[in-house]
């Protein structure tokens, strides 16, 4: 039974406020992290398990030039095979090359004599496909074989994913720090709030109330205050998320898939106000019990 009208006066604004701010923050941050994770997953699905490398031919039309080119191609293949995450490297045959250029420049003897750039098809290991960063591979290749390049689209996508991941990690780090700091603030606010009730705690104690009885009343009060603030913060975060979604839609749709959250993601977000309320409750309980422990 609640015998005290806790949380009915002015001081009772602070804890809900703070829990609200904290949940607001945490929901935004968590939603951001989860959405970014989804985006990255989408991107990595776009990335096929293969890369293409291009080796420019050694200028000249003679057999010597062709031999030199072949040597370069073999060298590029060797370098690429040594890269981590590479399963196999296949050099496209002249016929395959011809088939590729035919729509552009037609077929015929003339074309066959052209010193076309040679292509290498790189198959990545299944697990590594999404994770391999073609950037360093491109550098190594260029160093080994002057003029050799890796497929640009795939290169940029890899860099983008790196950036996205760094941003995600960074966001998560900031979120952890900020949530931690705000949690500390909630703890302090709850304790400051309780300080106003210290005379009440003393009276109850002197009247012969058990520690548990006193702590329970304050804990229940803190829980309700926390829930009030937490749900408020959560509700405030929803329109903000919607606004962020609108902003994200303005970004080229092909690059950034629609920001979306799964049911599990939403469950994680909904757990945040509950967690914050529990934090307030626990703080109240511990603080009251500690205060009481110091009384004889």
């Amino acid at each position: 039974m609640r015998t005290l009208p806790l949380g009915r006066d002015r001081t009772a604004v602070l804890v809900p406020m703070l829990v609200g701010v904290m949940v607001f923050l945490a929901v935004l941050a968590a939603a951001g992290a989860l959405a970014l994770g989804n985006v990255l997953e989408d991107w990595s699905r776009d990335v096929s398990g293969s890369l293409t490398a291009q080796v420019p031919p050694v200028p000249g039309l003679g057999e010597a030039a062709r031999m030199a080119t072949d040597e370069r191609v073999a060298q590029a293949a060797a370098v690429l095979r040594a890269q981590p995450g590479v399963a196999s490297v296949r050099v496209l045959s002249e016929d395959e090359l011809m088939a590729l250029v035919e729509p552009w420049i037609g077929a015929g003897e003339l074309v066959r004599d052209l010193p076309l750039p040679r292509l290498l098809d790189i198959t990545l290991e299944p697990g590594a496909a999404a994770r391999t960063n073609p950037g360093p591979m491109a550098d190594v290749l260029r160093d080994a074989v002057p003029g050799a390049t890796l497929d640009e689209h795939r290169l940029w996508l890899g860099r983008l994913m790196d950036l996205g991941e760094a941003l995600g990690a960074l966001g998560l780090a900031v979120v952890l720090v900020v949530s931690g700091a705000t949690a500390v603030a909630v703890v302090h606010a709850t304790r400051a709030d309780l300080a106003a009730y210290r005379p009440v705690i003393e009276v109850l104690h002197m009247i012969g109330a058990q520690d548990g009885y006193i702590a329970r009343q304050f804990a229940i009060n803190a829980l309700f205050q926390g829930l009030k603030g937490g749900l408020g913060g959560f509700m405030l975060a929803l329109p903000t998320l919607a606004g962020v979604g609108l902003l994200a839609d303005r970004v080229e749709a092909g690059l950034v898939p629609r920001i979306s959250l799964s049911v599990v993601d939403w469950a994680i977000l909904a757990a945040l106000p509950l967690g914050a309320a529990s934090l307030a409750m626990l703080t109240a309980r511990v603080t009251v019990l500690r205060t009481l422990a110091r009384m004889p």
């Binding site: 015998t3 005290l4 009247i207 012969g208 109330a209 058990q210 520690d211 009885y213 004889p296």
Partner: protein
């Protein structure tokens, strides 16, 4: 607790009949000087004592030791036969429920109405709400606050607050009543009435200890007086014969005899 009148016997009986017993008790706050160094006394079951002494002599401190708000820096204190320094913390609430305390500064809960303040000890002890609703208004009426049941302490006058504090202390008919300056903010008529209430409780077996400056009051009643001075405690025979109960009249709108409490 039995209402055994034999329990009022000798003050020198060292045994379980003693509700409070101080032996060589000394107290010092933090780094200050000792408030007292070696005081000893015992309150037998059903006794009635005044505790007097100048301002700052240590009356409130003695009461604080009795209601377990303070721990002695030396000596032993026995309450209801238990050595309080030996008792585990969890047992103390049970001891405290057997006591009623009127604090010098009242210590009412500002957010609760007079009625809820007085009901608090009953609620804490888990008394049924029906009992509470019957007895609390009755007692408040008896101390002259029938019109202020729902008033919050900040809207009460000094004397009204003091009477709420007294009602809270006696509502659960404690075995030991400790009252610190319980008549400092009321006029003589109400003071007499309140002492009459204490006497009624005492007749039903409650041991009473009242700290007071009110010389007149002390002299009007026949009870023994414990006097604190310069850190020493002395005993004095009581004042002017039987309680002048004829002079006690109810406050406005209140019945003439104290209500039976739960």
């Amino acid at each position: 607790m039995s209402h055994d009148s034999a329990a009022r016997a000798g003050l020198d009986d060292p045994d379980a009949n003693m509700v409070v017993r101080f032996d060589h008790v000394g107290l010092r706050y933090d780094l200050g000087p000792e408030v007292f160094r070696d005081i000893g006394f015992a309150l037998p079951k059903g006794s009635f004592h005044f505790l007097t002494g100048g301002s700052g002599a240590g009356k409130s401190s003695v009461l604080g030791l009795c209601y377990l708000a303070l721990r002695p820096t030396r000596g032993t204190i026995r309450l209801f036969g238990h050595d309080v320094t030996q008792l585990p913390r969890q047992v103390l609430p049970r001891l405290r429920r057997r006591m009623g305390v009127v604090f010098q500064d009242f210590r009412l809960i500002d957010h609760l109405s007079a009625l809820d303040n007085v009901a608090l000890p009953l609620r804490v002890a888990g008394a049924p709400e029906t009992d509470i609703r019957r007895h609390v208004p009755e007692l408040l009426a008896w101390v002259g606050l029938a019109d202020h049941l729902d008033a919050k302490p900040p809207t009460l006058s000094g004397g009204q607050k003091q009477r709420v504090a007294i009602a809270r202390a006696v509502i659960n008919r404690p075995d030991l009543l400790l009252a610190d300056e319980p008549t400092g903010n009321v006029d003589d008529r109400i003071a007499m009435r309140l002492l009459h209430l204490f006497e009624e409780l005492n007749k039903m077996g409650t041991t009473v200890l009242i700290a007071t400056h009110n010389e007149q009051l002390v002299q009007r009643f026949p009870y023994e007086r414990l006097h604190l001075q310069a850190g020493r405690l002395t005993r004095h025979r009581g004042g002017g014969g039987a309680s002048e109960r004829a002079g006690v009249r109810p406050a406005t709108d209140a019945p003439a005899t104290p209500p039976r409490q739960p």
